[in-house]
Symmetry: C2
Subunit: 341 residues, 2 copies
Amino acid sequence: MKEHTVTIYDISEKAGVSIATVSRVLNNSSNVSDVTKAKVLNAIKATGYTPNAFARGLGLNTMKTIGILCADSSDLYLAKAIYFFEEQLRENGYDSLLCCTGYALKDKKAAVNLLISKKVDGMILAGSHFVYPDAGDNNYIFEASEKVPVMLLNAELEGSNIYCACTDDHKSIYKATSEMIASGIKDIVYFNNARSYSGSLKERGFKDAMKDAGLEVTERQLQFYDGSGEDIHEMASRLEKAAAAGLSFRGVIAADDALALSAVKYAKKKGYRIPEDFEVIGYNDSMLAVCSDPEITSIDNKLEELCQKLTTTLMGVLSGEEMPKKTILSGELVRRQTTRN
Amino acid sequence: MKEHTVTIYDISEKAGVSIATVSRVLNNSSNVSDVTKAKVLNAIKATGYTPNAFARGLGLNTMKTIGILCADSSDLYLAKAIYFFEEQLRENGYDSLLCCTGYALKDKKAAVNLLISKKVDGMILAGSHFVYPDAGDNNYIFEASEKVPVMLLNAELEGSNIYCACTDDHKSIYKATSEMIASGIKDIVYFNNARSYSGSLKERGFKDAMKDAGLEVTERQLQFYDGSGEDIHEMASRLEKAAAAGLSFRGVIAADDALALSAVKYAKKKGYRIPEDFEVIGYNDSMLAVCSDPEITSIDNKLEELCQKLTTTLMGVLSGEEMPKKTILSGELVRRQTTRN
DNA sequence: TTGTAAGCGTTATCAG
DNA sequence: CTGATAACGCTTACAA
């Protein structure tokens, strides 16, 4: 007796009907008499038959999978995004093919091509780093969008098959900075870690707020950290070095909660009282904000809602509907113990 | 001019060879003359042809994908695991189909079946919760293993197509507890959050260490938290309630760094000095351990190494080699500021 | 309501 | 070294 995975033919035979009929009940399509349907169903149950996904994919030209790209799935923020996407996609009958690309452009390109060649139905680029300030660097996205709809989380890019959802980074940072200034702090450092389009938006938000308050911004106030996103000590020492080099500051606006947490550590080590002598505002309103002591005031960028919107849009696009190209939400400052107001 | 995705036939025609030959150069298989190979390659380049993955899948009966299951991809620990797996799998030419199942058994079953029906080549169950203390609850794993190799991260289960990698939870907790006792603390709480096989192993480690030190363990010292893994306040209030109810303790062994961090918050709120009056040991040696202030002594469970081993094993199994069913590593206590020794 | 048969785009087995 | 041709297992007009 030969090892034989059961196919639609076996069912057809066992139920005494044609494979077309079997296929019909499988896709509970059009008119099949209740009796034959029952026969088929029985045969299926009896054999434990499952349709071959590859064959089906070949016939339908889809296996109902969405590619999710992210630089680093272990990043707190991206991990959450992945979670939301995967959940919502599966609810819509789609699987998620995950690719962690790292931050190098060429690896992102490779991943995009890989996913295209695997014939995903759509692609989600999660995280602002996929869109570069330098326009030419974004060609890989345009190319991808010629094949499948491309969804951008936390980034903006215009293109005919490209859809994006993000919070208004400029405004959020602008407001946060303004509030900090209003609370009496003038010497503020903007602590950044991403050279993405969104990153430059945030930085502009900081600069604009300072300028509008009549404060000058020197290059040294724009601290950039590009090490591991988990190495709190290294981040803090970035700040320590800046201070040692003569920079004096009593407030930090961070592009990220981890950076903010490192700023808190820095300030405590310096002996500053928080928030009386030193204020910190983070970004993402992640778990880290409340892990810190004191707990960090942070900007909630509405991740779940963004993911929600993006999948809804994707589903719409995939079923041929016209969908909005861009949805922008407002971030919200969640006040905790590192600010006075 | 009709919209027509380019197929192997187009290439065959354009290059003036048969599709068989095209297929050969595609899989750079056996003998193809350099000239014809060049012709084919040119045709491919000229058209931008990519082989259809579904057709190939149908023919080869594999699309080189591995299903990764985890309860919650946004869990700090699992997120890292996913990252390692995805990376290592891709290096081996496999894609990762991610399913976040949540913690309910029926959803896990559903996810497993889904992946099987999508014809993944193997399956990784990441996290101890997939294996239940109650044997019957593990049938879904055995069933899956009849179809594809099943890899268990951080869990143990014996079966003919089941492979596992984990650290010795019992021993790790036993040692941590013993050290805390040795440092002079007797009234210790074990703070747990998982009713998994691994969870009971850890708890036993705690109990055994206490017993071997001649200390009694009451039920109340076994605190269980089953809320959100991110709600530090809720975790801390679990401890506060226990204290309010009359439980007195000066040390916490936590099954998880988040729990440990909440214990630190609890102790600080109580006014205990750490580590002089109160000690805490966490588990996983995650980012949270160093986000805390004071930073938390935690057990490193060698996640990356475990993932590494598991993928290597999987690759071996998939290529028909005999592979070890179980690899167990030792955890390592990483000393920081919440313990004296 | 049901069956027949033509794809879908590869890979793989034979011959040549 | 190369070419026909038969799988692979399903979907879907088109007939009946």
